[in-house]
């Protein structure tokens, strides 16, 4: 601490005492950061004057590891950086490779992928719908969302064998076909979750304390969205109407988001924490509708292959390409550069959370320490997705 002379004025109101600021570390081991994110906060009283996110505590070198794995092995890694959107992250790699190969994926596989992506999105959103109130001190919603998650986890586990890291995608399709009767069970799980959603909403929607804590807190402007490359529900809560499922359709989203389809893009103009939470809530409903549409479609599709027979050694022709998907947390992109080897020369991962987090310094400035968690929780990040 500096011992330089301080100006000392005692008074009430805006004048106040001249004080030195306090530097406070929030994280890497702090209950608010659910992971190992670190924020270096400069405090004046409880007012945040500066906030600096320090990332990298969980860096696992995913991109470097990609370069020494063949494409099938890459999938195992690709679903690990964002452990709440594992299936969607697998899709990105598959799309990048399939596009580079010019491979045609069977329609049945495409619709199944879409269905599982949406179920994965619901799982992800439910998690944040529970963890956000928890950070604001409400403990119970967490248990409610985990009950719903369990319903969906059960069908995901039945089809993929995994509960978190599904590893169900293969280049060119899926590992297995849908088990007999699974579609009925999936439809039932979706219906159950939809039926119970009001119970979760009753904790969140219209709660005066929650509103007081989140309304007008941590406002993100459309300009900041463009500046920092923010995407996903956070961008849409700031009024930026962007959703790759509609704007750059992949899988079967072109049909789902066509006019008259069940796909809707949820936006909010406010840009504050409450808006982010509301977007998440509404998106959950949309995803449940999309899942239902996928199930209906899959029922009408004839039996057929769900993958493409691959050569023993899969080599991607020389060239480069970018495949981005609308992951639950935002854009997730893979820039694939191949030199014709069985491993990529470079596979750049553009993860949603990293960009979304980068605006924290600007958003936090001038807010209160108590609002820090309200903002941090509403940024919906996964630390693995930041640090890669």
């Amino acid at each position: 601490m500096s011992t330089s002379a301080r100006e000392l004025t005692v008074g009430m109101g805006a004048g106040g005492l001249a004080t030195s600021d306090m530097v406070l570390n929030i994280g890497p081991q702090h209950p608010a950061t659910h992971g190992v994110l670190r924020l270096r906060i400069t405090l004046d009283g409880e007012r945040i004057t500066k906030c600096e996110p320090i990332v990298g505590y969980m860096h696992r070198g995913a991109e470097k590891l990609f370069e020494v794995r063949d494409y099938r092995q890459i999938l195992v890694l690709a679903n690990r950086h964002d452990w709440l959107s594992a299936f969607s992250s697998e899709i990105g790699v598959c799309l990048a490779v399939e596009r580079a190969l010019g491979m045609e994926v069977p329609e049945r596989a495409t619709w199944t992928r879409t269905l599982l992506s949406e179920l994965n999105r619901v799982l992800n959103h439910l998690m944040f719908l529970g963890s956000y109130p928890l950070e604001l001190g409400a403990i119970t919603p967490m248990f409610y969302v985990f009950r719903e998650r369990e319903e969906l986890q059960a069908v995901m586990e039945e089809i993929a064998g995994g509960r978190l890291h599904y590893m169900f995608n293969r280049i060119g399709g899926l590992r297995d076909d849908i088990p007999a009767g699974w579609l009925d069970r999936a439809a039932e799980a979706v219906a159950t979750v939809r039926r119970r959603m009001p119970e979760i909403e009753s904790f969140i929607v219209g709660n005066p304390i929650l509103n007081a804590r989140t309304k007008g807190v941590g406002v993100i402007t459309p300009a900041m969205v463009e500046q920092y490359g923010i995407s996903g529900p956070i961008a849409r809560a700031a009024g930026v109407d962007v959703d790759l499922r509609r704007d750059d359709p992949y899988l079967a989203y072109g049909e789902l988001f066509s006019p008259g389809g069940p796909g809707r893009v949820i936006t909010r103009p406010e840009g504050d924490s409450l808006a982010r939470l509301e977007v998440l809530l509404d998106q959950t409903h949309v995803s449940l509708d999309l899942a239902d549409a996928c199930i209906e479609k899959l029922r009408s599709l004839p039996q057929g292959p769900v993958n493409v027979k691959l050569p023993k050694v899969l080599k991607v022709p020389e060239g480069s390409g970018y495949a981005a998907t609308e992951n639950p947390l935002g854009f997730n992109g893979y820039y694939l550069v191949s030199r014709g080897e069985k491993t990529p020369w470079r596979l750049k991962l553009r993860s949603a959370s990293f960009n979304n987090m980068s605006c924290l310094g600007e958003v936090m400035e001038g807010e209160l320490l108590a609002d820090m968690v309200a903002i941090l929780g509403s940024m919906f990040f996964v630390v693995g997705d930041i640090d890669k």
Partner: protein, 123 residues
């Protein structure tokens, strides 16, 4: 009145008992708890990194205005309790209520003034 003063003997007894309880708890801890101090363990917790800044820092305490208000109203309460106690029995009547009302009204005007000046918003 005598029994009332005797009540304080129980307070004294409980105080002594509490001291005994705390001492006993600390003795139990001495006997049962392991002791293996290490540098990292004795360091101040700051989210798993070395604490930044020195031990002593000056920092803004932002509740001064509230503290003033608190003192004002707490002193008010000191006058309030005796009056409240005897209102029913002594036949002070409506006049004392009006007087008390004026007294509190002055404080409320002060509170309203403070609010209008923005003292009650977080600095």
């Amino acid at each position: 009145m005598n029994s009332g003063l005797l009540g304080y003997l129980v307070v004294l007894g409980v105080t002594l008992g509490g001291v005994g309880l705390f001492t006993a708890a600390m003795v139990v801890r001495r006997v049962l708890a392991p002791r293996a101090p290490s540098g990292a363990k004795l360091a101040t917790y700051e989210s798993g990194v070395d604490p930044s800044g020195g031990d002593w820092q000056q920092s803004g305490f932002r509740y001064v205005a509230y503290a003033f208000l608190y003192v004002v109203f707490a002193v008010d309460a000191v006058y309030l309790f005796p009056w409240a106690l005897v209102l029913r029995t002594s036949g002070l009547g409506i006049a004392s209520v009006v007087e008390m009302g004026i007294f509190i009204l002055v404080l409320l005007v002060g509170l309203a003034h403070a609010a209008r000046r923005g003292v009650l918003s977080w600095l």
